[in-house]
């Protein structure tokens, strides 16, 4: 377990910022306790300072997780968000899209979101920005990248892809072993 290097910090924060914009600062300056990001076995964990200290008493090998896993660095040093980060992305997200019930199922199986499945979308979403996907009952079910902005998507035909799939809740079942 170690603090992130500057390079890593930049990568993580740019990634987060694409979803929650300036709200990134809210993750660090929290009123309840000091929170921090830590790199442990190439995974980034977000935990309170206290919890991090307590976790430090476990050796590196047997320590598997503490706090919340935000994502991981790939072998090529790119940063990928995990579905486990959804709890922190969803409340602060700048851009959201709501899905119709049948499209919801499709998305949970790992498919992209088509125009026909979109019920609602935040106004003014630019292309290639991170976007959080919600069900009609306002339950966050995943996130992805907007393939088309709000304006484009209005003109697109029903089969056009609006959101490129990145992570969805179904991964808790599909990829439980790699979380």
């Amino acid at each position: 377990m170690r603090p992130l290097t500057d390079e890593e910090t930049e990568k993580v924060f740019t990634k987060l910022a694409s979803f929650i914009g300036d709200n990134v600062s809210m993750l660090i300056d929290r009123s309840d306790a000091d929170y921090c990001f830590r790199n442990h076995k190439e995974r980034v964990y977000y935990a309170s300072e206290n919890l991090m200290r307590q976790a430090a008493c476990i050796a590196r090998e047997p320590l598997l997780s503490f706090g919340t896993c935000i994502g991981k660095f790939t072998k090529t040093k790119k940063f990928h968000l995990h579905i486990t980060a959804l709890d922190y992305l969803a409340p602060y997200a700048k851009y959201r899209v709501w899905l119709k019930p049948n499209a919801e199922q499709q998305f949970l199986y790992g498919n992209n979101v088509l125009k026909s499945g979109v019920a609602r979308m935040t106004e003014g979403t630019p292309t290639h920005s991170g976007i959080v996907v919600l069900s009609m009952s306002d339950v966050p079910i995943g996130f992805g990248v907007a393939a088309k902005g709000t304006m484009d998507s209005k003109r697109a035909d029903p089969t056009a892809i609006i959101v490129l799939h990145q992570c969805d809740l179904g991964e808790y079942l599909r990829n439980e072993s790699t979380l």
Binding site: S65, G67, C69, I141, Y172, L179
Partner: protein, 692 residues
């Protein structure tokens, strides 16, 4: 049922039947005369209510122990006797002709068989009763029927073990076996009156064991364990039946994310039929049926609920974690209880979720993240290490120990056959190590903590009460009320074992009583951080006080303080004695005796060592021989102790199985591998010659 049956039986049959019985009574030797009637009646009464669970009278009786109650049982049947006696007198004459022929038969008749007519009336049980019919000599039809009628009322006759083994090998008919089980249980229910005087209780039990094994598919070890656990045969059967039936699917609403009421509403909209599970839980929901897979709804994925048995709510409720505590879940996978703890802690404080199995740890990580738990540290350690990593570092610890799983047989039927004494021994040794480690990791001085909850999903006493008792002997702690409203109190005495009286504060759960998995929960409060038992702690305290008193005495006037010191001392002594006398179980005393013996032995050894040292200088003093002898004796004693270990004494050593020796060639492998075939051949020749 009885009334119906009487109506249906034809008059003629009745006549035969009753007459037959009467005749029988006349023929039987005088000393058994009254007994037979009573027996017959009792049997009848028992058979009348098989469907309402079991007859009360039988329920009371412990089948497998000689009981004081036996005498009372004989009185029971009188009322019913009257009705039949009338008939009997009427038909007596008619049937006296057939007496002689039938008498012979009574001797070897296996008496299981019941008449068809009778059987059809009395439903279920009697239908099963055709067993052993083949052993009946072939008689004229009327006679036969008569005989059958009599037989049904007659004493059950026990086949020998060999017969049963052969029968089970050949073609075990479920009905015959089932009937025999119920017969044997009835006999055991009032053993004094119904037994065959030639057969011992052991014979009956052996037959019952065999039959139960074949009927329910257990191995003999487990069946005997269960028979000890449920001395009442009726309850035993209920338990075994319950093990074959699945429990209802239950889910726990995740109070971190959603309220139970809202969740229930959502799930009903999804097409699931849910209901609050029980009065004692505010988060449990039971799923009656569902059109969608319970483990794959969007609500499940969003972490609104967790699928877990109702029994796994119990240890967490007993633990009652407070927000801000440092809590350890020693055997966490798959994370159901852990997330429940986190929910009760409201995501504050620190929660360690440990599991020994790395693969299962992944499930913990997944579940904790899905359920939105952010205060957890997941680690993959041996539970025993926590006492070294963080000694006295936790406010509360939940130890849901790995166990034989005899409480959840419905989930895994392989338990029925796969567990033997050694498995159980391994489990409870492991449990003892873990519980000691857990107790050492606990902080006795924490302001609102110092609690350890021990739970298993086993019903065996070795893995539950015996382990708890072991901890009470080893560490300074006490059992406290679990705060659970349901459950049966734990055993304070089991067979010839006596546990600490406070073990009645532990709770047991049975599938046939509570309709949840078989389970055991015990809650400890740690009293001091010392790594000794209560005795040691008291002694240390006393020494401390004595020291203090002495210091005081030294400081001030000897006369005045002398009295005070004595007072203090005497008071202390009383306390200690009381403590020792009252709660320490018999076993402890035995242990102490053992310890004393050991000490004595040690002393002896020490002495002899000294001798040895002295004698070492001399040549041929025989010291080495003596030492060898001593070592052998020691080894023998150790082996004997291990062999004795049945789960209740506190040695906690597991027998080592001797490994079968691998085949060893006379020719070293390297020599073979070194070079060509020819040289190898030569070498082999040489080696073989040498070895000769």
């Amino acid at each position: 049922m009885g009334v119906v049956s009487k109506k249906k039986v034809t008059a003629a049959l009745k006549a035969k039947q009753n007459g037959g019985v009467k005749r029988k009574i006349e023929e039987t030797p005088p000393e058994t005369n009254g007994e037979v009637v009573k027996k017959k009646k009792l049997v009848k009464k028992v058979k009348k209510q098989p469907k309402n669970g079991l007859p009360e009278k039988v329920k009371k009786i412990a089948l497998f122990d000689d009981d004081e109650e036996e005498d009372d049982q004989v009185i029971v049947p009188k009322k019913e006797q009257e009705g039949c006696q009338r008939c009997r007198e009427e038909e007596k004459k008619q049937l006296e002709e057939s007496e002689e022929e039938s008498v012979d038969q009574f001797g070897d008749d296996d008496s299981d068989a019941l008449p068809d007519d009778f059987g059809s009336d009395e439903s279920g049980e009697e239908d099963l009763s055709e067993g052993d019919e083949d052993e009946l000599p072939i008689l004229k039809e009327g006679e036969e029927e008569l005989q059958l009628n009599i037989a049904s009322q007659e004493k059950f006759e026990l086949p020998t073990i060999d017969e049963i083994e052969n029968e089970l090998k050949a073609a075990p008919s479920l009905e015959i076996v089932r009937q025999r089980i119920s017969d044997v249980i009835q006999v055991l229910g009032d053993f004094k009156a119904r037994r065959d005087p030639k057969k011992s209780r052991d014979d009956y039990l052996a037959v019952l064991t065999k039959d139960l094994c074949s009927q329910y598919g257990y191995n003999e070890y487990l069946i005997t364990k269960f028979m000890q656990l449920f001395p009442n045969g009726a309850e035993l059967l209920q338990f075994l039946e319950a093990n074959d039936n699945p429990r209802p699917v239950t889910i726990r609403a995740n109070s971190l994310k959603v309220k139970r009421r809202d969740l229930a509403k959502n799930l009903i909209n999804r097409g699931m039929n849910v209901d609050p599970a029980a009065e004692w839980t505010k988060v449990g929901l039971v799923v009656y049926d569902s059109q969608v897979p319970v483990g794959a709804t969007p609500e499940y994925l969003a972490g609104h609920y967790m699928i877990q048995g109702l029994n796994s709510l119990l240890p967490v409720m007993a633990l009652a974690p407070q927000p801000g505590d440092r809590v350890l879940d020693m055997c966490a996978a798959p994370g159901g209880k852990t997330s429940h703890i986190a929910a009760l802690m409201k995501n504050s404080g620190v929660l360690y979720a440990n599991d020994f199995n790395f693969e299962r740890c992944r499930a913990v990580i997944g579940n904790l993240h899905r359920l939105g738990v952010v205060n957890a540290v997941v680690c993959n350690l041996n539970g025993e290490e926590f006492c070294k990593i963080r000694p006295n570092g936790f406010d509360r610890i939940l130890l849901d120990a790995p166990c034989s799983g005899t409480g959840v047989i419905w989930k895994d039927q392989s338990v029925k056959t796969s567990k033997d004494s050694q498995d159980v021994q391994r489990r409870h040794t492991m449990q003892r190590k873990l519980i000691l480690s857990a107790m050492d990791a606990l902080d006795a001085n924490s302001p609102n903590g110092g609690y350890l909850v021990y739970s298993t999903c086993s019903v065996l006493v070795e893995e539950n009460e015996a382990v708890v008792n072991f901890l009470l002997q080893r560490r300074h702690c006490q059992l406290v009320n679990t705060g659970l409203s349901i459950g049966v109190d734990g055993y304070t005495r089991f067979r010839d074992y006596r546990f600490h009286p406070s073990l009645s504060l532990t709770k047991r759960y049975y599938p046939h009583v509570h309709n949840i998995d078989g389970f055991f929960v015990a809650k400890f409060k740690k009293l001091s951080n010392a790594k000794t038992n209560k005795f040691g702690v008291d002694e240390a305290n006393r020494e401390k006080q004595e020291k203090k008193a002495q210091e005081k005495a030294d400081e001030s006037d000897n006369d005045e303080d002398g009295d005070a010191e004595e007072d203090v001392e005497s008071g202390d002594d009383e306390d200690v004695e009381e403590v020792d006398k009252a709660p320490e179980p018999v076993k402890v005393k035995e242990n102490e005796e053992k310890k004393k013996q050991k000490k004595a032995d040690d002393d002896d050894e020490d002495d002899s060592d000294d001798e040895e040292k002295v004698s070492n200088g001399k040549v041929g003093s025989g010291a080495r021989k003596l030492k060898k002898k001593r070592n052998q004796a020691k080894q023998k004693a150790k082996q004997a102790a291990v062999a004795e270990d049945d789960g209740f004494n506190s040695t906690g050593v597991v027998k080592k199985v001797k490994k079968a020796k691998a085949f060893k060639s006379k020719i070293p492998k390297r020599a073979l591998a070194r070079s060509s075939a020819k040289t190898v051949k030569n070498k082999r020749k040489k080696l073989l010659e040498k070895s000769r």
